[in-house]
Symmetry: C2
Subunit: 314 residues, 2 copies
């Protein structure tokens, strides 16, 4: 019988690990390819773990996407669209993924998806959550952070509608995104791959211990909650006229105060951050976000709480 | 009257600065765009300096190239091909560049081209020469290296036919390539842009002092002469099965001895460098070279000599 205040939750049976959601983010591509040939590392007695290359055409071309961003394509509109040949490749993929790993919101959907990404920004080891209300996921991340305490993992919460998006991992009942950087697009770095591997294995360990009946006591989790993106300064034709300032470059997760340098023009003029309060910028200078009009994402520090979790015996 | 052993050479009047030869290498793109709007920084009394975006379609798409690599397209075959609509975009561009800045080999060609590139590899500030026999260019690089002594510039010589290619800058009588890294594709870093700017200005200063009559005494120049590329280990389908080893990663210009680690497989096996002598690897883990089957370039240290140079008074 579980103690009072314990969330007794179903077992986590089926976990998918997605790589290549963006075809030029290579840690996930290499890991998934390796695991498709040799699954031994992913095996846990209580789990069914499926590695999966989510955007194979983009991977083959070593490009982020073919027609449109797969990680923004998982919208209700796209999922319910009638299948047609003229449909963008990634919308077709989203529907196929929904069929294989969902349907989204259905009791037959996969229990958990870990989606592997890289970034050109200096976020280090970043775990992304889409909701503050999922005890299981908070507990998993808490476990990972404390197990890999020397790897300095940070947690990004993308719950605010202004920054949320139709991520492909949301097809499952629970999910996390892993963003490891800095790594250039189209490049595979051994140290980055090693970090990603450790994080995936730690997540699987947690799920297995949970399934075996381990009770995880109530915990708190310090996260960075994103609320707004800041674009580059641009001219009337939309061309960028200010680049990330050297004092901001590579300083993800570090406090940016009003008046601190944020951009530098090619005439040497510093453009200060003009918000009203201190913020914590993340995804500073991510290559793929130039076209999404995001030089960096603003976050604020919050502390989440999770109830104790324990697998239900039924 | 010039002293004995002095190369009396013509004035250097017309210099072009190319950016965006590869559309996702952004330092050159941003600098050339800036200079096209405001040329003041490039002005020297004795020079005509033309900034130029060499691959505008690739720049617009933020991709290395549209149909084929512009910096491999400058071959005799491509330059003499009859113009046609079905011609690859970059071959058309090569012909237009040959018309605007050449013709290659003709006395009316531009005197000098500086071609601006970035690389994901940790080469720092790298100056590329295509020949060991050009006194003027050796003297220019010697001047730049000694003027910017704290910026630790290294020189790469691509004279060996095994590593040479139809680079677009070869349309002019003399040329250098600047490769500044590490910078991801599609990203602009302020520190990298600053370095590139200093190098360009130093090159222009040299050309101007030369035109004004300054005699540069005989000099020697330590360079790294490339002779071979090393590909990634691959399986029978051409997939990469070994990634750059952490001990080699970021160690461009540092000696690699036979038996030193060079690659790491995803099973954790180290693959040693199996050459017969020590080498100096360069372009270690450059994103654009995966498809060119180059994990790193092998170089050997050599010392070049240049005669004194002085502008001819006629
Ligand atoms: Zn991604
Ligand atoms: Zn280039």
């Amino acid at each position: 019988m579980a103690s009072a205040g314990v969330a007794c939750l179903p077992a986590i049976r089926r976990i998918a690990v997605f790589g290549g959601t963006h075809g030029n983010e290579l840690s996930g591509v290499f890991l998934v390819r390796h695991w498709l040939k040799d699954k031994s590392e992913l095996q846990r007695p209580s789990l069914e773990v499926q590695p999966y290359l989510s955007n194979p055409a983009a991977v083959q071309r070593c490009t982020r996407y073919v027609d449109c961003d797969l990680n923004r394509a998982f919208t209700e509109e796209n999922l319910s669209m009638p299948l047609s040949d003229s449909m963008p490749y990634e919308v077709k993929r989203a529907q196929e993924i929904n069929h294989l790993f969902g349907p989204k919101g259905n009791e037959n959907a996969y229990d958990f998806i870990i989606d592997l990404h890289n970034t050109t920004s200096n976020v280090g080891n970043c775990l992304i959550m889409k909701t503050s209300k999922d005890d299981f996921t908070i507990q998993m991340i808490h476990y990972i952070k404390n197990t890999l305490i020397h790897d300095n993992c940070q947690v990004l919460l993308l719950e605010n509608p202004a920054v949320q998006y139709g991520a492909v991992r949301t097809v499952a009942k629970h999910c996390i995104g892993l963003e490891i950087g800095p790594q250039p697009q189209g490049v595979i770095r051994a140290n980055i791959l090693e970090n990603m591997r450790k994080l995936v294995n730690s997540a699987l360990d947690f799920a297995h211990f949970y399934n075996e009946g381990k009770e995880f006591p109530p915990c708190t989790l310090d996260v960075y909650r994103a609320f707004e993106k800041v674009d580059y300064p641009r001219d009337s034709e939309g061309q960028i006229i200010g680049i990330i300032h050297p004092q901001l470059q590579d300083n993800d997760w570090k406090q940016l105060k009003p008046g601190d340098p944020s951009f530098l023009t090619l005439h040497g003029r510093t453009i200060p951050y003009n918000g009203s309060s201190a913020v914590y910028p993340v995804f500073v200078n991510e290559a793929a976000y130039y076209e999404k009009k995001s030089a960096f994402l603003l976050t604020e520090k919050v502390t989440l709480k999770a109830n104790s979790v324990k697998v239900s015996k039924t």
